[in-house]
Amino acid sequence: MMEEEHIYIPVDQSEEVVAVPLSNLPEDPEEIVDVLKAEMVPFSLWVDFARAYLAQDKIPQYQRLLSFGTEKDVEDFYRGKGTFESIQLLCELAATHVDAARAESNKSSKTERFAKAADLLSTARQLDFHEQLSSIGLGELALARDDIEGAKREFQQAARHRSNGKENIAGILMLAKLHFRQSQYADALKLYKMALRRHPGCPPHVRLGIAFCHFHLGRPKLAEAAFNRTIALDPHCSSAYIGLAVLSLNSGTKQGRAQGVHLLYEAFESDPSNPHLLALLSQHCLVNDCHEEARQLAAAAAELAESDKQKAKCVMLEGRAWHALRSAREAARCYTQARKLDTKLPLPHYGLAQLNLLQDQSFHTSINLLETALQQVPGWQDALQVLGQLYSKMPEKAAKSLAQFREAAARSPSSMEVWEMLAELLAATDPPGSLHAYKKALELYRAAPHSSDSAPHAAENGHTEPSIHLNPKLLNNAAVMHMRGGNFQVALELIEEAIQAAASGDAVSNVTASSQVTMGYNHARLQESCGRRREAEVSYQRILQEFPGYVDCYLRLACLQGRRGDLPAAHEWASKALAASNNAPDALAVQASLYLADKDKSQWDKAKEILEKKLLGKHENRHDAYAQLALGNLFLNSISHSAKHPGSEDRDSKQFTRALALYKRALEQNPGNLYAVNGIGAVLAEQGHLTDAHDIFGQVQEVSAASEGFFQMPEASVNLASAALAQQNFAPSAQLFQSCLRRHFHGQSSRVLLYLARAQYDANRLLDAKKTLQRAIHCSPWDTTLAFNLAVVMQEYGVRELKKERRAGDPNKLTELTAAGVQLTQAWRLFTFHKSQLDRLGKHTVPVDKKKLAAHLNFCNSTFQKAQVLVKEAEKEEEAADEVRAAAQHAIQLAAQARQAEVWAREQKAEQARLDREAAGRQQAAKMERLKQDWRDNEAARQAAEQGDASKVDRKRKKDQQAAAEEAAFIEPDDDLDGAEYQPGDESDDGQAGPADDGNEDEGEDPAGAAASLAGTGVSGLMSDSEEAAEPAAEVNEALEPEVEVDGQEAEPAAGPSSHKGRLKRHRHPDVAAQPETAAPEDDDMDSDGPQDDGAQAAKRHRAALFQDSDDE
């Protein structure tokens, strides 16, 4: 093609040539063109001259020459003689247009250029459809237009075609490059290898391609060999040097790094203007904290960059350098520029997000930037990590990219970091998912070789994978999550491991003093949860000795003492907390809770004052969710007291409104606050909207059930059951109470037992109700309400037995009637006891007033008399029946004997007949055998009969004894009361069982007439409150009335690392929150241990959050 220094133009029709020195090409290519045209030179000379200009970077001349060469007249002249050259010229001219279009920012001129190129190329193609060049040109054009698929098509075609009739690997190489760019390294490698096979003397950069493919496919050894081979062929190939350098740098060893840097500098020496190289050097400087050098190198690289994409990278590097130099403005400028140059480059988004955070601008912008970055590089750990922290501050945004986090984790089943990150992110929104992620991270953590024990091992096999360091943070946070899930023992073991890891000095990050204290606190907290309260107390006090400002320790100590029932000591700790924290909302909350836990209800006013004035009344605390809920509960509970008093409706409705407003506010702040939801349900129930309330409680319970133990809200279950009871779904209600007793109350809550008894009573399961009440009394023997209700149930049972329709001669009659008498006696004894309590100690000791008690006593008494009469009747009947039975039995016996005799006679006859044939002795023996058998049977029957009699006698004796005792007990039988009036019958419950007020619903179901006829009976325990005090029954209702409970605990508002301490702290001590519920007058001794644990957990979460804070930069 090109001679050394001259291009020789053969003079037409002569042997002469004109030598044109390359160094002296005319500035105006037209001169050349004239000569070329005049001498009618071979077309290839046109190409030679064009390239000569190109080689001298005289682009305009080059372009002009090409333009001349592609003009119609020239083309026509050479038609048939220089098709290939024509194509060459067309393609090269097209290429200049493509290049220009790339550089063009104006959209319309860009399109124009593309159109021109396309035009030229299609002309070229038409000249020869099988020419490779035009395909390659078209491919490049497609690439420039971002039409990857089109480019691929063209390049594939090019790979098949020949160039100027000769095989040429250019097409294959283009296709390989395309695959390479698409990160399809395996495909690219295959093509490069194919090119090498077809053309073993190919230019060295084919080997370079192979090297980079291997590099990207993670085969450093093969890559290294290929790089070296490239360098052998082309000692100045800086790319190969760069490749080797990167390989060395990546080796992870110190030696490797040094060698890498050395190689880079070597390459720099030979090719100081390679932008790749400069960028790499810049990156190296960045890593080594030579930020200024890095900046300069990056800037230089950006200048030299061959494409926007590359330039973007360089500018981005420059930005990072500025960033590191703490020049936020310059950094931002660079990032923005880089982002413009290449919108797909993720790092600038990331950098901008960081800058944004640095300048404390909105999280939103940062989140958006990071999300964009992640669209480009899904699963990018660094970005995910920052995003994760941001999400934990704005959990409402998290949902969008959560899937990405999960995918990233699923994609990296062996990356502990990714799982840990996912776990931290899910902590707020999906605790079970978070726990799962922690478990996975721990699994990986345990499977990984630890630095301490694996160092020699790793060196041995030259494995470059870094061993994992002890990670107290992971252990701590996993412990916290386990604790939230209620796995206290596991959590305790983990936190102990975390403390050990932190102490070993080989931790992944330097464990700060503050996180060590936090772990100490967590440890104490878990000791507490595991029931080792004594040890926890000691631990808290030890922490306080060292850090007297650790307010949470004071608060936990206050709670511990409060739960032990030592309120004065608890208050003392709370005061210390208040002093140490300058009246922090948490400390105030604890103080309020302690007042609420007091049996002395006058203390509740103090609680109310704290909640209203010091918490909600202060601007900075006005959103305190605990205060909102606790105060709401307080209002609601004061309603349940006044509901029984006429004339308090106004006050009640005011209280409803206030409570509702508080719950709503809490819910507005945190839509996931189930405690507030529960509270709203309770208000609805109190106002009589039972169906709605039932739905709400049901939903709360569902959420709770779906949380896999992370969210336990026993009160919602109790309320659900109460609502069912109020709706007269007795059986399901009883079932709900039972399961909730088992699950949440260790079967020991006399309050829930009382409700259960009520449900069983209403479901006509009197004996079950009796047993349930006994269990309740066994838990709280001092609770007179329970005993009173037991008396009512026994009275009712007695009455029902007496009233039971019996068929004549019912064999159980006497036993049952006797039992009924016993029940009535017991009931009477208990009522008597209540009366004596009332007389002796005053009103507060007994749940009913004198009148009602008297009515009960009278009723028991009279019913007992009736029972006595009935028992006597039954005895007589029994005796008569006994006689009849005895007679019948006698008759039966006689009949049997007669039958036996008959049989015997028959057999005798038969025997007689046989006698004739057989020997007399044998016959006689057989007969005797049968006779003996018959005698034995008779004897057995007689014995059985005797035994039956004996048991009867026994029973009779007992019965007499009891009757005597009962007679002695009842002093004044009142014969006035007629059995007919005591029909316990079918009065319906009128929904009073539940939180509903009477009168609101079920009108007409309890007609006044029916009720009136029951007045004074005291039997039912089921009558309406509107009835006069004459019936004790009304009180029974009250006593058994399950109150809808509200629980002051708030649903956890997304814990997580946050600088908004207030937000996290406020749910520290819902311990107390559970207390307002105990407002039910009979239940102050009830404890709410479950919820307290929850509260503690909230505190725990808070600690976890702090810990994360302290660890994350």
Binding site: C530, G531, R532, R533, R534, E535, R563, R564, G565, D566, L567, K599, D600, H746, G747, Q748, K771, Q774, R775, I777, H778, P781, W782, T784, A787, L790, V822, Q826, R829, L830, T832, F833, S836, Q837, L841, T845, D1085, D1087, D1089
Partner: protein, 311 residues
């Protein structure tokens, strides 16, 4: 030291079992259990079969065994105390007390005739009942001092225990008061501080110098009787501690709790030795056999479990 399950009887009663006690040595190793099913059962040594004592009309709250091995006592929610002759299952006395004025009972250790001390519930005292007549007779009472706090309800006296030497009697109340009286003189000797919630069970150590308590505050306290001071608070149960029994050697004690667990504690090292999880519901009673070789536990889950004890 260790407990290993030796024998377990499911459905030992028809309903929740609330109390357990062993007849003293010499009369065989007979375990007595009382249930909400209104019966007291005395079990064969392998707890395969049982004799029934019936008569209570409500759940049996407490069982006591007289040191002579002749008498068993039971109290129930019907507020009757019944004293039985173990040898022929006959009833010796049936003492009717006012409702809610009897809870746990204990036999006076060194009396020839059975004398029953009853934690007096709402009566704010311990009452001693003689059993020379069928109805029993009130012999004397140990009255608790009345608290200054007006708002406090009556202290419901829940638990009662004699010191093995018979000189002292202690009781525990609903509000956590633990009081010790001189049996003979009838005086209040000391009030032990530290509990604020119901003390449902208490027992002296065999040498009568220390007292163990089981409290709803989830702790078991060990008190020095003479000094009237708290020696140690044992925590570990996750709910109320319902029952406590001291090993006759004085080296160990066991507790039963609402958390359905039985725990074995070492009194010498003052530490938890073991947690047994045989039960699925509240463990209302634990009792070491007088020879110390076995422990029995009873529960709301209706089962009885026997454990072998080894040092």
């Amino acid at each position: 030291m260790r407990l290993s399950v030796n024998n377990k009887k499911e459905e030992a009663h028809e309903d929740c079992i609330w109390s357990a006690g062993w007849a003293p040595q010499g009369s065989g190793h007979t375990l007595f259990t009382g249930s909400v099913d209104e019966t007291v059962k005395s079990w064969s040594e392998d707890i395969s079969t049982a004799d029934n004592f019936t008569g209570h009309t409500l759940g049996v709250v407490s069982i006591a065994l007289h040191p002579s091995g002749t008498w068993a006592g039971s109290s129930a929610l019907d507020s009757f105390i019944r004293v039985w002759d173990i040898t022929d299952l006959s009833l010796r006395a049936q003492i009717e007390t006012p409702p809610s004025e009897t809870w746990q009972i204990a036999f006076q250790p060194n009396s020839a005739e059975p004398v029953v001390a009853a934690a007096g519930g709402s009566s704010n005292k311990i009452t001693l009942w003689g059993t020379s007549t069928n109805d029993g007779e009130e012999l004397r009472s140990y009255r608790l001092p009345v608290g200054e706090d007006k708002h406090k309800r009556d202290k419901f006296v829940m638990s009662v225990a004699y010191s093995p030497d018979g000189k002292l009697i202690a009781c525990g109340t609903q509000v956590g008061t633990v009081a010790i009286f001189d049996v003979e003189a009838g005086q209040l000797v000391s009030v032990l501080d530290g509990h604020y919630k119901p003390v449902r069970d208490l027992t002296f150590t065999p040498d009568s110098t220390m007292l163990l308590t089981a409290c709803d505050d989830m702790h078991t306290h060990l008190y020095d009787v003479k000094q009237a001071s708290l020696i140690e608070a044992f925590s570990g149960h996750e709910s109320w501690v319902l029952s406590v029994s001291c090993h006759p050697s004085g080296n160990a004690f066991a507790t039963g709790s609402s958390d359905a667990k039985v725990k074995l504690w070492n009194l010498s090292t003052r530490s938890l030795e073991q947690t047994a999880t045989e039960h699925s519901d509240q463990v209302w009673g634990v009792a070491f056999r007088p020879d110390g070789q076995q422990l029995a536990s009873v529960s709301d889950d209706k089962s009885v479990v026997l454990y072998s004890f080894s040092d």
